[in-house]
Structure formats: structure tokens, C-alpha cells
Symmetry: C2
Subunit: 347 residues, 2 copies
């Protein structure tokens, strides 16, 4: 290479972004008008409205016994089961003396709703496992339909601004044992806390070079005994089954809460935005933002949230530019990896 | 290098953008609501409203004699003078047997408004030069203030959507001899044609790698005789003066209308959007879009347009991402230039 100093465009991008954008979330005094909302969509910037859903029937009435009475004790609901609350997340799998990072999905099973809630609220569960109702398939307008009339059918400012109805409305029921790993969705997201607290760690799309996305081999938990299952040290009841015929999953492996693990050279430049939602709080999570979500609630209670996914806009420059950031980072990685290979060959 | 195939992120960016976005401009049936406008701002996409300003007093009354009577025959106005209508544009300067591309600015002088209009509308001008009133310094609220009440003080949908008044309102008076070279502005721009036609060639901000931006030495035209002026072949009345103490100007050197000149390896991927404005038409030109503007009018008439510059949003990802595209392209150029230098040294 020559002596010319070549600046690092990726570092410059993240630094420029940090200089122009706050890492403190905007707090609005009330729900925005459609136009005010569209300004936030336009700048792909989150906000929170404290107490926006305090008057919703869900927020005012959804205790554990009332939920059981509404949906029915014996109604079967889909439940994600994991040893430690780690559904849909990277997992260090030790096998034959080597460690590899895989993408683990939960064991999914149907349980009577009453039994599921009893499990969540019992401090002495018979099995050491974590359960979470977290299907993101519009479950509030399907599986949980009897509860739907207690929340808004759509978020008015979002419907008017984006000129569409929600593509999916999802219900989340869990406890402080479950964490959703850092990931992103191609949706505009309105997230409403009903009971308990949710703790968000957010990163803008331009932070792709910080999150160390890797192609991970997929696996999923199964209940033991199960032929061919790999035992895992954190559970005697659950094991892992690899999915050799499924495509690898591109997934963030850096966790802003453990910044020295799996970091890239750019992770240190990220300025995570943190926000905790209390019951009734409403969060706008813009399309393509990375989010890690943990939760907490009192003993004997549950964390319940509802989120509305609206289609994002794929025209305009933002979506192709986000892909561009990934491609530039991956190409840089590829070149570095080639140089390392060549250095290796020389020795 | 290794045998691994490294894709070209810049080519991928432009191709992805082309697949997701039309190169035909959207035509709206009427002025948009503030919310509809904000959707276009959000996707940084132009539109045109045919006839939106047909009812403006300016569009209905601004003939050459009426303009003279409104502003006054003898009022002094700033006029840009060039040999061939090439104000603020790249110019191939031949000097001492070598050719270099410089950035030429017009000779600016004050002329009585009547004399200026007579020059524009006369087919037998005594001097071979091109004149254009094109100061972009809010001239309609200053130099041309007596005309201001004949146009809208602000564009209502833009004022409400962007929550600000125009930073500048600019008047343009010229003929088919003037062309504005491809460039971009950091403003949201509402452009209104009053008389004659304007022909726009538009490129989105992600096309930065197509436009062959170069750092050009600045120069400006002067009336001859002038000590130290460089004679130019296209004029006996005007010469060029270099500005050795002024900083170089970054400027697009590729012209979509002459695509084989000064092209980069990416220019062929650009899909220019073309639109002609007739009297009363209104164009939304989003922030940072490249635009080349030529014009035409009948003999004895003039081309008049008014544009409103509103502050663009610098928060959010678009501005830093646009800088990122430039930096990645420049770094790629730098590396290629280094490789060429090294190859040269080997010989």
C-alpha cells in the first residue's frame, strides 16, 4: 500500500451519525399527530410516549386471573421453551472439544393457558426451564382473539401516517427470565407495555458494522429424551437438535451489554439508546433498528406487551443504503481475511 | 488477492435502488396535504404537480413589459454574464498546451432591469454573451421585493410539514441559452415555473459515484480588457481569472446528457429522471438530489421561475449515509490510483 492516509468510511459514518443524533430517546408529551409521527418515520428515529395506553382496558384490567377468565384456563397456546430464556439467539455449543456459535430456536409446544400462566407465576416451578409466549404471527388477532377488544385495533396516528393497517399485532407474555437477543425487523413497530417492564437497548441501522453479524448454523431445543439430541449443560430436560438441511441464519452476535465479547473493531463506536417501558408506555421503534429486549415484573405477576407491525417503506434510499453498509463491511472483512490467509501461507 | 469473488457494493447499491424506485417522476393530481408531502420527504423522492401555480398572479401576469413596470426599468439587478450560458460549471481550460478542468463562475455585474430584459428578448444583441439573473440569495425577498406579492409567501404544505418558513426564495430570469450544470443543494426545494419551460435531469443522492465529482480550481469570468485575464476561445469580450487563493471546489464533472464524457465506471448504472416544467407546474426536488437544468422559451420572451428552499433534516441516517457513499467511492478511487502508481513504478 502507499503512504497515502486512507480514512475509514465506516468509522466516519458511525461518528458522523453520533454527532448529529442523540442517544437519549425523545419523550413526547402525548401521542403525536400523523404528521408529527411521519417526521419521526422520515428521520428513522425512536420516541416514547409515557402513559399513552394507561386508559386502555388491557392496561387497566389484565391481571393473571382476569386473563385466564377471558381466554379460558384450558385454551391451548403456543409457548416457547428454553433452558435459560434464550429463544432465537446465538449460543456457544461445545461439542467434541470444539466450541461453535449456533443460532438456537426454542422448543415450541401447546399448553393450556391456565397451566402456562401458573408456571410463569410460580416461584417453585417443577422444571427448570423458561417459558415465553412470543409467537410473532399476528397472534392477538388469532390465538388470543378474545383479548383483542381490550387494546386498540390499530394505532390511529400510525394508520393515518403510513396509510395502512397493521400487518401483525403480537402479544408477548413472559417473565424476567426471558430475553430477546439483539436483532432487527423490516417493520415500523409500535410497542405498548401492558404490565411489568420492558428494557430496550437500541442501535440504529447504520450500526450494522458494530453488531458482528455472522452466518449461524440453526438448531432448536427439544424435550429429552429425543434421539440424536445434543445434551446441553444448562438443562437436563432439554437438548439441542441441529438443522443440517436449513440455511444458515445471519444474526448479530455482539451484545451491547457485554461489549467486550464478540466485538468488531467498530463496536466501541456504538452509542446504544436505552429505554425502559412501564405499563401504559408506548415506544416507536423505527424499521431496521437493532433491539435487545429484557423484562422484569414482580413475583407472581407477568410481563405483558402488545406490538403493532406496520409495513415499512422500501422505496427511497434508506433500505438500499442499509444493505450498502452491510456490503461494505462484509467486503472489508473478506479482504482482511484474505490478507490473513496470505500471511499464513507465507510462513 | 484471493480467488474469492468480491462483489462491488457501490454497483449493488445503485442496482438495488433502481430496482426499488421508478425513474419516472410521480405526477400528483393536486398539491399534496402536509402529510402526503412528508411521505415524499421521507422517501426522498421527487414529484411534480401540473398546473399547481396556474392561478398565481405571477403566472397570469408576468409579461416582459409588466415586469418592467412592476420593478422599474432603471432598478439595478445582479446579472450573471458568461460566454455560453455556463455559469458555475466545469470548464476545459487550455493553457500552455495542457488542458485542465476548472470551475468557472460568471462575471457578475449590476444592470438596469429594463436593459437586462431588453438584452434577453432581443434576437440581435450587440455582444455575444449570455445573461442570467440567478443569484440564489433570497433575491425575491430583497432585490425583486416589488414582485414578491405576486407569488405565494410560502408553500403551505411544505411549511406545515417541515414546520418552518423558507430559508430562501429565489427568482430566476433567463433564456434558452443558459444551463445550470449538474449539482446538488442541501435544501428541500419547491420549484415553480412561471413562464417558459425548464428541463430537469435528476439523479438521487446515491448516484454520487456516477457523477465523477472532482476538486476543481476555481475561476471566474471578467470583462476584457482586464490585466492577467486568460483569453477564452468562445468570447472576445470575456476572459478568465484564476483564483489561486480560493479553496478548490468539489463538483460533478459528468453530464448525463453526454454520458461518454468524464464518466466513472458507475455512470452507466445511473437512470436519470427527466421532467419538463411548463408555466404553473410545481416540482418537489428533494434534498441532495443532483439536478441539471436547461430552459427554453419563445423568441422575445423570457424563462422565469421561483424556487423555495426549506431547511433539510440533518438528523437521522440519510445525511451521514450520503457522506458514506462518497467516502467509500473516494477510498476505492484512492486505492485504484495507488495500484496504478505502483504498477507505474515497476516498469
Amino acid at each position: 500500500m502507499s503512504d497515502t492516509e486512507i480514512q475509514d468510511p465506516i468509522a466516519e459514518l458511525i461518528t458522523n451519525y453520533n454527532e448529529l443524533n442523540s442517544s437519549q430517546i425523545d419523550q413526547l408529551p402525548s401521542e403525536p399527530s400523523p404528521l408529527e409521527f411521519m417526521r419521526y418515520v422520515s428521520k428513522n428515529t425512536p420516541f416514547v410516549v409515557r402513559g399513552a395506553a394507561l386508559t386502555w382496558k388491557a392496561t387497566q384490567t389484565w391481571t393473571v386471573p382476569y386473563l385466564k377468565s377471558l381466554l379460558g384456563e384450558t385454551t391451548q397456546v403456543n409457548v416457547a421453551v428454553t433452558p435459560s430464556g434464550n429463544a432465537d439467539s446465538p449460543y456457544s455449543l461445545e461439542q467434541n472439544g470444539t466450541t461453535s456459535l449456533v443460532f438456537v430456536k426454542p422448543h415450541e409446544e401447546y399448553q393450556p393457558f391456565g397451566e402456562f400462566l401458573d408456571f410463569l407465576t410460580s416461584s417453585n416451578s417443577p422444571t427448570k426451564e423458561v417459558r415465553y409466549a412470543q409467537t410473532q404471527n399476528d397472534n392477538l388477532r388469532n390465538e388470543y382473539l378474545p383479548l383483542f377488544s381490550h387494546v386498540e385495533r390499530t394505532i390511529p396516528f400510525a394508520r393515518i401516517a403510513l396509510d395502512c393497517d397493521p400487518d401483525a399485532i403480537n402479544m408477548w407474555i413472559g417473565t424476567s427470565h426471558s430475553t430477546t437477543a439483539l436483532h432487527k425487523d423490516n417493520y415500523e413497530n409500535i410497542y405498548v407495555q401492558i404490565s411489568g417492564q420492558k428494557h430496550f437497548v437500541l442501535l440504529p441501522p447504520i450500526c450494522q458494522p458494530c453488531v458482528n453479524e455472522q452466518m449461524l448454523e440453526p438448531a432448536h431445543y427439544v424435550r429429552l429424551p429425543c434421539e440424536g439430541a445434543i445434551p446441553v449443560p444448562d438443562s437436563t430436560d432439554l437438548g439441542l437438535v441441529m438443522e443440517p438441511h436449513s440455511p444458515y441464519v445471519p444474526f448479530a452476535t455482539w451484545d451491547p451489554d457485554s461489549p467486550m465479547l464478540n466485538e468488531t473493531e467498530y463496536s466501541c463506536l456504538a452509542r446504544p439508546m436505552k429505554v425502559t417501558l412501564n405499563p401504559g408506555d408506548m415506544l416507536y421503534l423505527p424499521a431496521m433498528w437493532y433491539h435487545k429486549v429484557s423484562q422484569s415484573c414482580k413475583e407472581g405477576e407477568v410481563c405483558v406487551a402488545v406490538n403493532y407491525w406496520y409495513d415499512m417503506e422500501f422505496t427511497g434510499p434508506l433500505y438500499p443504503l442499509t444493505t450498502f453498509v452491510r456490503s461494505v463491511f462484509n467486503k472489508e472483512r473478506e479482504i482482511e481475511s484474505d490478507i490473513e490467509d496470505e500471511d499464513g501461507n507465507d510462513e
